[in-house]
């Protein structure tokens, strides 16, 4: 089994790029795109529905709404889902594209001092560079706070 410790997943929502530690990732799965269209339980404002994963019903969260990315984004078919681990258990996120999993050496720090001038906490506070592109650095626990409290 390959060792993924200290690696990061790079994915996209629309045109925006994101990085996520594989420590936060439970699995990557593909589902029928109808999963988002069947209108099953939508318990929260950012919920797109529920997904059965490892004998549990877990929420599918719309990060595009949380992060105010274009709401007309097409996730494609089949649907690519990241299953993440949070404080309240597993939750999942549909993404537009998965670029791959890369070693930490592929990422470098990116200063963004202007982020700190905005008042209030936000779903992300750091940016890093990957292949000269700025990525939003995601943290599953931090993101979970925002959609759980909404």
């Amino acid at each position: 089994m390959p060792c993924t410790a200290g690696m990061k997943l790079v994915f996209r929502l629309g045109e925006s790029g994101f990085s996520l530690s594989v420590d936060d990732l439970v699995e990557i799965r593909e589902e029928d795109a109808n999963l988002l269209a069947d209108g099953r339980n939508r318990p929260g404002p950012y919920s797109l529905g529920m997904l059965t994963c490892r004998d549990q019903e877990i929420p599918v969260i719309d990060l595009t709404a949380l992060l105010r990315i274009s709401s007309e984004m097409d996730y494609g078919d089949p649907l690519k889902l990241l299953v993440l681990v949070g404080e309240s258990g597993f939750w999942s996120v549909p993404v537009s594209r998965i670029e791959g999993i890369f070693p930490l050496a592929a990422f470098s720090a990116c200063r963004a001092p202007w982020l700190s001038i905005f008042p209030g906490s936000r779903p992300y506070n750091a940016i890093e560079l990957w292949r000269e592109e700025p990525l939003v650095r995601c943290d599953a626990l931090w993101l979970e706070q925002f959609w759980c409290l909404a």
Partner: protein
């Protein structure tokens, strides 16, 4: 205070900017979107390991919003609140301020500085980037509240 002023073309008009505020001028840098940026920002560019927010020129000069930004250069400026980029169509001249003069007045321009730079008897609105960027610090991504679904 710098003794030079840059004259540049922005949305078909010529504006002036104190050279002292300019760190570098980049030709057609790659612009990246980031979520939850204030609506007055186009995106960010990467320069020297730093993500630099790019201002919407419409906001800075109070022009009607134009969703299609076609610019050739970005003037990277240093302000009290950090470094920001200003897209411009072209940089026309760097002129010696001592050759001409600044004028101030309440209704002289639409740039927020209330000043114009007069060069060869032509008045150019003088941009005050710092003053505009200061308004960014008042922006809160939670307002208006997210709609969810």
């Amino acid at each position: 205070m710098s003794s030079q002023v840059a004259l540049f073309l922005l949305h078909g008009r010529v504006y002036a900017l104190d050279v002292e505020e300019i760190l570098i001028i980049l030709q057609e840098p790659r612009i990246f979107p980031l979520p939850l940026l204030p609506p007055v920002l186009v995106g960010v560019l990467i320069h020297d390991g730093e993500a630099i927010p790019l201002l919407k020129p419409d906001w800075l000069i109070e022009e009607p919003e134009d969703s299609h930004y076609c610019f050739s250069y970005v003037v990277v400026c240093s302000t009290e609140f950090g470094v920001v980029g200003l897209p411009v169509d072209n940089v026309l001249h760097i002129v010696d301020r001592r050759e001409d003069r600044l004028e101030g007045g309440p209704d002289m321009d639409d740039t927020g500085s209330g000043r114009t730079f007069v060069y060869e008897q032509v008045r150019y609105p003088l941009l005050d980037i710092g003053r505009n960027v200061a308004e960014l610090s008042l922006w809160d991504f939670r307002h208006p509240p997210p709609q969810g679904n």
